[in-house]
């Protein structure tokens, strides 16, 4: 397997400890768990998505673990502005604050709360199961562009996270780029449902949810590859990454780094374990392989 050289890197303007970033919404609601993931080897962490008002989330079940993936409909629970307090203990650590809102103004407002603390913002315009938020606005290129511009005013790196639940993801990617995004994160979860045949009901409280984990890896690779052909800003690959080989594959598709979420369930020390496989003293620079599958 190809191995990469070790050491801090920059991902789309953000100094990180390695190429492996904790994905938004996974163990991301409190500083202590974010810090734990950094301790266990994450190169950076993205927080739970924070919005303009506290939200308590959808009724349960919120998560079901499938054989080859996870389906969730959390409903964007978050403490809103109190999260500023939560992050106060961080000092220079690579913490990327994920934010969401119902329109560009809300995005701008929420980002403002964190303008001091965040190393970068990640815009959640892609959660597939919260009415009025996430993918409900992330399927409209104009809105995505406007939200990106609104957050860009805070002069921090802005990553825009896209939904795969669109006919053509490149139109949304290009909109983010036009809005001034520093990077695209692809992808959020794939809209999905499972039904309990015993109880004759969709198993998630919200009925619809988002599929993540191994099952969506080929979809995520495809989206990264498509975006790499269409956009010129960096892409962070996300979706089903669960081993070092997957990281290399995402990079060959065009990703400069990856985010990892669901794989934490099978292995809470995933970041350390992937790093052990991925990095070597005589490893090559990631630049040598990013996008090489396009040649």
């Amino acid at each position: 397997m190809i191995r990469l050289s070790q050491g801090p890197v920059k991902l789309a303007g953000v100094p990180v400890r390695n190429h492996l970033v904790l994905a938004a919404g996974v163990l991301g609601t409190c500083a202590s768990s974010l810090r734990r993931m950094l301790r266990q080897g994450a190169g950076a962490v993205v927080t739970k998505s924070i919005g303009p008002e506290p939200r308590y989330g959808h009724a349960g079940p919120c998560v079901v673990v499938l054989e080859d993936g996870i389906m969730n409909a959390m409903g964007l629970p978050n403490p809103s502005r109190e999260f500023v307090q939560e992050l106060s203990s961080f000092d220079g650590e690579p913490v990327i604050v994920s934010i969401f809102g119902g329109n560009p103004e809300e995005f701008h407002e929420v980002a403002g709360w964190f303008a001091e603390k965040a190393e970068a913002f990640e815009l959640n315009v892609s959660c597939p199961h919260a009415a009025g938020f996430g993918a409900q606005i992330g399927t409209n290129p104009d809105v995505v562009k406007a939200c990106t511009e609104a957050v860009k005013e805070w002069k921090k790196p802005v990553w825009v996270k896209l939904t795969p639940n669109v006919t053509d993801i490149t139109t949304i990617g290009r909109a983010a780029e036009e809005g001034g995004a520093d990077a695209i994160v692809a992808i959020n979860t794939v809209r999905a449902m499972r039904i309990s045949t015993g109880l004759k009901r969709p198993v998630l409280g919200n009925k619809y949810g988002g599929l993540s984990g191994k099952a969506i890896f080929p979809i995520a690779v495809r989206c990264v590859y498509e975006l790499y052909e269409a956009c010129s800003i960096p892409i962070i690959g996300c979706g089903g990454v669960s081993c070092a080989e997957d990281v290399i594959e995402m990079m060959m598709a065009g990703a400069v780094g990856v985010e990892i979420g669901s794989a934490v369930v099978q292995d809470p020390e995933i970041f350390r374990h992937i790093s052990e496989e991925l990095y070597a003293p005589d490893g090559i620079s990631s630049q040598e392989i990013v996008g090489c599958a396009h040649e």
Binding site: P54, M74, S196, V265, P268
Partner: protein, 268 residues
């Protein structure tokens, strides 16, 4: 009664290891106290004492519950989902995910300290293990649960806040009359303030090293993913790294000081 989720009939084709809720049918509802009932169902889960399940009350919510018996949960009515549960009838169906969490590590003579519905995760210890002393606390005599069944299996000592039964005061007070050196394992479950005060007593009496506490926090996933149950300062998940933690591990923790609600907001 069918034997355990993990022995699903193996269909050819699809391996049935999807973690979807297992549908179970309620067979009996036994009232333990005015606000607490035990709900028995037609599936036996193979779980260690201290492990828990996520109980799906269809149309309402999914909530964490200890398995009081391998085929039952014991529910205190506090809100919508628990109210729906305690009013269920035989034949009604619920969904169960799990068992989850680590469970207790049990050896030697065991001292069990329970407050209120916190008795549920400890019940099997009193019933199934030899040589257990059970300290049972509640606010009033009415709210004591499992007293008689436990008394038939192990030594039980009782405390009530109002003195309506047993020792008058908090269950931690019962510890004064116990020689902690006689026990190899101390297990505790109850409301946060009760657990914090037991923790303090055990610390003062140098018995904290052999103590284990079953924590409860807001849980949405049960599998160490969503982070809603994480506790400070280590950021461990109560659902996956716990719910059982050793006393020393909790000493510097948020236990008894605050917890986070469904939105992640801190509450006292």
């Amino acid at each position: 009664m069918l034997l355990t989720v993990f022995l699903h009939k193996k269909l050819w084709g699809a391996p049935m290891s999807d973690g979807l809720p297992v549908p179970v049918t309620i067979t009996r509802v036994a009232q333990e106290s005015p606000g607490v009932s035990t709900i028995f169902f037609d599936h036996v889960f193979s779980a260690k004492p201290g492990q828990f399940v996520m109980v799906w009350v269809v149309g309402t919510d999914e909530i964490p519950m200890a398995l009081s018996y391998p085929n039952a949960v014991t529910v205190q009515r506090v809100g919508e989902a628990t109210a729906a549960l305690v009013s269920m009838k035989p034949g009604d169906k619920i969904g169960i995910r799990g068992p989850f969490g680590n469970g207790f590590a049990l050896q030697g003579r065991i001292l069990a300290i329970a407050g209120g519905v916190g008795t549920a995760p400890l019940l099997r210890i009193g019933l199934e293990y030899p040589d257990v002393t059970f300290l049972l606390g509640a606010r009033t005599a009415d709210e004591l649960i499992f007293q008689s069944i436990l008394s038939s299996a192990c030594e039980v000592r009782v405390a009530t806040d109002d003195g309506s039964a047993g020792f008058h005061g908090y269950v931690a007070g019962l510890l004064d009359e116990i020689d902690l050196d006689e026990y190899e394992t101390i297990v505790v479950c109850g409301p946060d303030p009760m657990m914090r005060s037991v923790l303090s007593v055990l610390e003062n009496r140098n018995a904290i090293g052999k103590s284990q506490f079953s924590m409860h926090r807001y849980m949405k996933c049960g599998v160490g993913l969503c982070g809603s149950c994480c506790i400070d300062p280590d950021g461990v998940c109560v659902c996956k790294d716990g719910p059982v933690f050793s006393g020393p591990m909790l000493l510097q923790s948020e236990l008894g000081k605050y917890h986070r609600n469904a939105a992640g907001l801190k509450e006292k």
